[in-house]
Symmetry: C2
Subunit: 335 residues, 2 copies
């Protein structure tokens, strides 16, 4: 029997970064109780006492009566039907490590954009393989969405993706608010890979900005990135999908054009001549697109999709090739 | 017999704005002589004496020995085989008015993005109807391309479009330089309408910025604009075209995301509450997208393509409806 999300399904959010905080805010608009797993005790206590997250979206005030806060992941998971994963992909494995409760009767939603490092699989693929959650109990919440704008209640669009449209619709009811418009889709593969690929393209944009390319060229690069993304999906997993929709092109645009995008900033440093490791140290974290680049390269060995932009980024990041000449070469492949 | 542009074909540019000036600069990289019609005598004399255009791209220095400058359009046209029109569309008719020389044995390229006001036809359609130039002697040069970046020799892409691919290629040789990459196409209809539509969408973006919508929403709006543009072309003039290419999506991106776009600035004022006429007076000119909006609305009466964004812009500009509530309604139609 297929798993059905109903109106009574209890939701919990795993993570306490800006996106997790935004998702809790959204859920509280519709739900009378929301579980929230916060590993960091200091943050947890601050939210309990001051009703705000001390680190992210500090202006968002929580009615803590409706929050079921806990630093025990097993408690949070036991008391929920729908789990929303919202930690940076690099912390996913360690976050789930203490888990002893089974996930097999849960519906698990990834709000994480990226690849699980080392494993080089998407988040839903990882949860499926490692925790035995079948794909009809897996889903995605996808942008284009800066958490900061959600905090300000500026109109944003989220796409909810589940294998069964009925579940997308039910979940959509839990996250639609006056400032969140919800689109629905069943294209888990396409949406998840779009959000992985866009980080690679945002790195490419950053590199080119670092190399002093102008707006005319960036528009060409981003249009060609959209084309490459669309080609990758068509050739690796054909499906009825409109890659102009917000979950694909929209997400690429918001990331590529935002100067606050971590991946774009990482690329910018590379373009300006920083070695990869120095850029990572300077940023105090690894940009998601760094792992995405290796993962897509591995996958594409099988499919051999024409991806000059992603290949160029990979050669710059992993083969220590100089960005200047490689980007110059790339310019001849864009249309 | 079909008209062929050969290597010896003599080129001339009509107009002295920033885009005309950039095109003359580009042509001079490849041609030993370039005709240039400049209606304004003061500007003409300044270029003769000081070798720079006093009004636009002032840093561009011209080797005037290779320029055949004239304030007589008939002289310029007589001495050229390929004419490149680069005046704002609102001045096209008056610019061509003094013409007594026939255009029927010329190749006429429009570098104008827009609609001929009052006539509500594209530039190639106008030249075809009014001057009897057949479509196989008509072409387009299309962006994404800010003239200012061409002046700085920052890498930009131009798409050359002629009905015969051979002519696109020949013309491409005349405008390809170290800082201009040329793509080729035969899709006159699609390219010209893309450059018309994008001005309408840039107005929509401006309106939404004026109404304080954020980056998340703008990405959704622009992605949906690309989708609407693609749908319009598919339903009005089906052809083999990749609407992700720079001449379509790239051009939309550079215009929509540029704060210097006149259409976006015009929209911004409307969004902030200026009446249409005050915004036009304030800008001291009419944004191309204003005419485009009426033109597309007229055309679409026949085709009835679903175009919620273009329709919303039209109702705001021509029916004096308040932007706030109309955009709020539009948000429900985006995906």
């Amino acid at each position: 029997m297929t798993y059905k999300i109903d109106r009574q399904a209890r939701c919990a959010v795993i993570g306490y970064g800006s996106w997790a905080t935004a998702l809790v805010k959204i859920l509280l608009e519709n739900e009378s109780a929301v579980g929230w797993y916060i590993r960091n005790n200091e943050v947890l206590e601050h939210i309990r006492q001051h009703k705000t997250n001390p680190r992210y979206l500090r202006d968002v005030h929580f009615y803590t009566n409706n929050l079921k806060l806990s630093d025990d992941i097993n408690t949070v998971v036991s008391e929920a039907d729908v789990l929303i994963l919202a930690v940076p992909s690099v912390y996913l494995k360690t976050t789930l490590e203490p888990l002893t409760v089974s996930l097999q009767d849960k519906f698990v939603i990834s709000a994480i954009k990226g690849i699980v490092p080392e494993d080089y699989v998407t988040v839903t693929e990882y949860v499926n393989r490692r925790y035995g959650v079948p794909f009809d109990q897996l889903g995605i919440i996808s942008g284009p969405c800066h958490a900061e704008e959600v905090a300000l209640e500026r109109l944003s669009y989220l796409t909810v993706v589940c294998k069964e449209m009925e579940n997308s619709l039910s979940l959509g009811e839990k996250i639609g608010t006056s400032y969140i418009n919800v689109s629905h889709s069943t294209d888990i593969y396409g949406t998840e890979y779009a959000s992985v690929l866009k980080n690679i393209y945002a790195i490419a944009v950053g590199i080119c900005v670092g190399l002093s390319y102008g707006d005319n060229f960036l528009a060409v690069l981003i249009a060609n990135s959209a084309m490459e993304m669309s080609r990758f999906m068509e050739q690796t997993y054909p499906a009825e999908r409109n890659t102009f929709a917000s979950a694909y092109l929209g997400d690429l645009l918001v990331t590529s054009y935002s100067q606050f995008s971590r991946n774009r900033r990482f690329g910018l440093m590379i373009g300006k001549g920083y070695p990869v490791q120095s850029a990572q140290m300077e940023m105090n974290m690894v940009a998601e697109g760094y792992y995405a680049s290796e993962c897509i390269t591995q996958i594409n060995k099988k499919f051999d999709v024409e991806m000059p932009i992603a290949e160029t980024v990979h050669r710059i990041l992993y083969d220590s090739e100089k960005p200047g000449p490689l980007i110059a070469k790339l310019t001849g492949h864009l249309i």
